[in-house]
Every structure is written in C-alpha cells, then in structure tokens.
Amino acid sequence: MDRQIYSFGASIVVASLLTAVIYAIKAVIPGLDEAIEDSIGHAWSYMGVIGLVVFFGLGLAPVRFAKDGRSLAVQIAGAALVSAGVLFLLSAWLAVRGN
C-alpha cells in the first residue's frame, strides 16, 4: 500500500529536477526554445506533458529513493525548492540577456 507513496514521491523529485534541467538546456542554447515551440507547441503545454509523463511513468514503476516518510518529505521539498530557485535565476538571466 505504501509503494505508491514512495514511487510517486520519487517521480516528483525526478520531474522537478528534470524541469529545471530542460529549462537550463533551453536557456544556454539560443533559439532552441523557439524551435521547440514551432515544432511541438507552447512551453506551458509541452513542459506540462513531459512532467505528467515522468510523474505517471515513474510513479507506476517500483521506484523508491526514501527509507521513510520523513526522508521522502525532505527529498520532495529539497528537489522542489532547488528547482524553483534554478527556474527563477534562469528566468532572470534570460531576461537580462534579452531573450
């Protein structure tokens, strides 16, 4: 019964960090974001779909990173806060750079 608590928690950790990594790749390669938007759609849709695929794909798999509920909470909070911080800094860098 607890299996999905840990597997979906692990998928949240991976999806959070993956979101920041994808955004970082788009930030350092000029024109990539526009090329992706031209081919598969707007960022709000494809980033969400990627997140949902990772969330359900890993969540339904037998994946476990944490040993108990407390360490799972720490992993989720850590990944989400680091990812949010990276997203904010990259957004600021892109705006200052003029993209």
Binding site: G69, A73, A77, S91, V96
Partner: protein
Amino acid sequence: MREALLFIHPTLGVLGILGAVWVFVEALSVDKDRLRRMRIMSIVVAVLFLLTWISGGLWDSYYYGADRMMAAKGSWVAVGDIAMEFKEHLFVLILLLSLYLPVLTYRLDLQNTVARTPILTVAALIVLFGLAMEGAGATLAGSVHVGMETMMPS
C-alpha cells in the same frame, strides 16, 4: 473570452491554494472525519490546478502576445519577462504536487501514518509556490500597466 481566461486562471489558482491550506490543517491531527474531508479536498485541489493549467495556458498561448507588446513599450519589460518565464515553468511543479496530494491522502489511514509528513510538506509547497505564482502574475500585470502608461502618459 480573453478577459474570462485572464480572470479565471488566477481565481482557480487561489481556490487551489486555499484547498491546500485546508488539507494542511486537516493533516495536523488526523481522525476519521478529518481524513474523509482531507481526501475530498485533495481531489478538489488537483482538479482546480488542472483547470488552472488549462485556462492559464490557453491565455498564455493565444492572448499574452498583445500584452507582451504593450509591456515592451515600458521600462518593466525585463521584470515582466522574468515573471512570465518563471510562471510557465514553475507551474509544472505545482501541477505535479497537486496530483500527488490525492495519492498521499488515499494511502493515509489511522493506523498507517507514513504519508502524514509528506502530505504536510506537499500542501505547504503548493501554498508557497501558488503564492509565488500569484505574485509573479501581479508583477506581470504591473509591467503591462507601465507599458500602457508609457504609451498614454497621464
């Protein structure tokens, strides 16, 4: 339709934040009635953020371009760009956290409380990130307003 989407998506987001606060408070001390309310509210939170994602995304895709052109006339254009890029990508995290909440609440029971700390954490993150989204949205609106004032000085 433009104005409807513009106002609907932050309203749904605020309702989702309030729902996450509700789940957080219920999880502080769990009993049978609190568990039932928490489960219902976690579903409501997930649905609200799914609707926020769709309505905000549609507004972003079809109507933001005109506002971006307006903001570009003013001195806050960089601030607006930071807010928009941040919102577009941070929302993925909120959406996934809100979908995880029912997974946790439906696996919590009075004998097995392993999910309680993750529920408190996830609900708190939804509130924190949701408020950041609302703040970024207000900043974005400010950048458009500054652009309009530059075009039409009072």
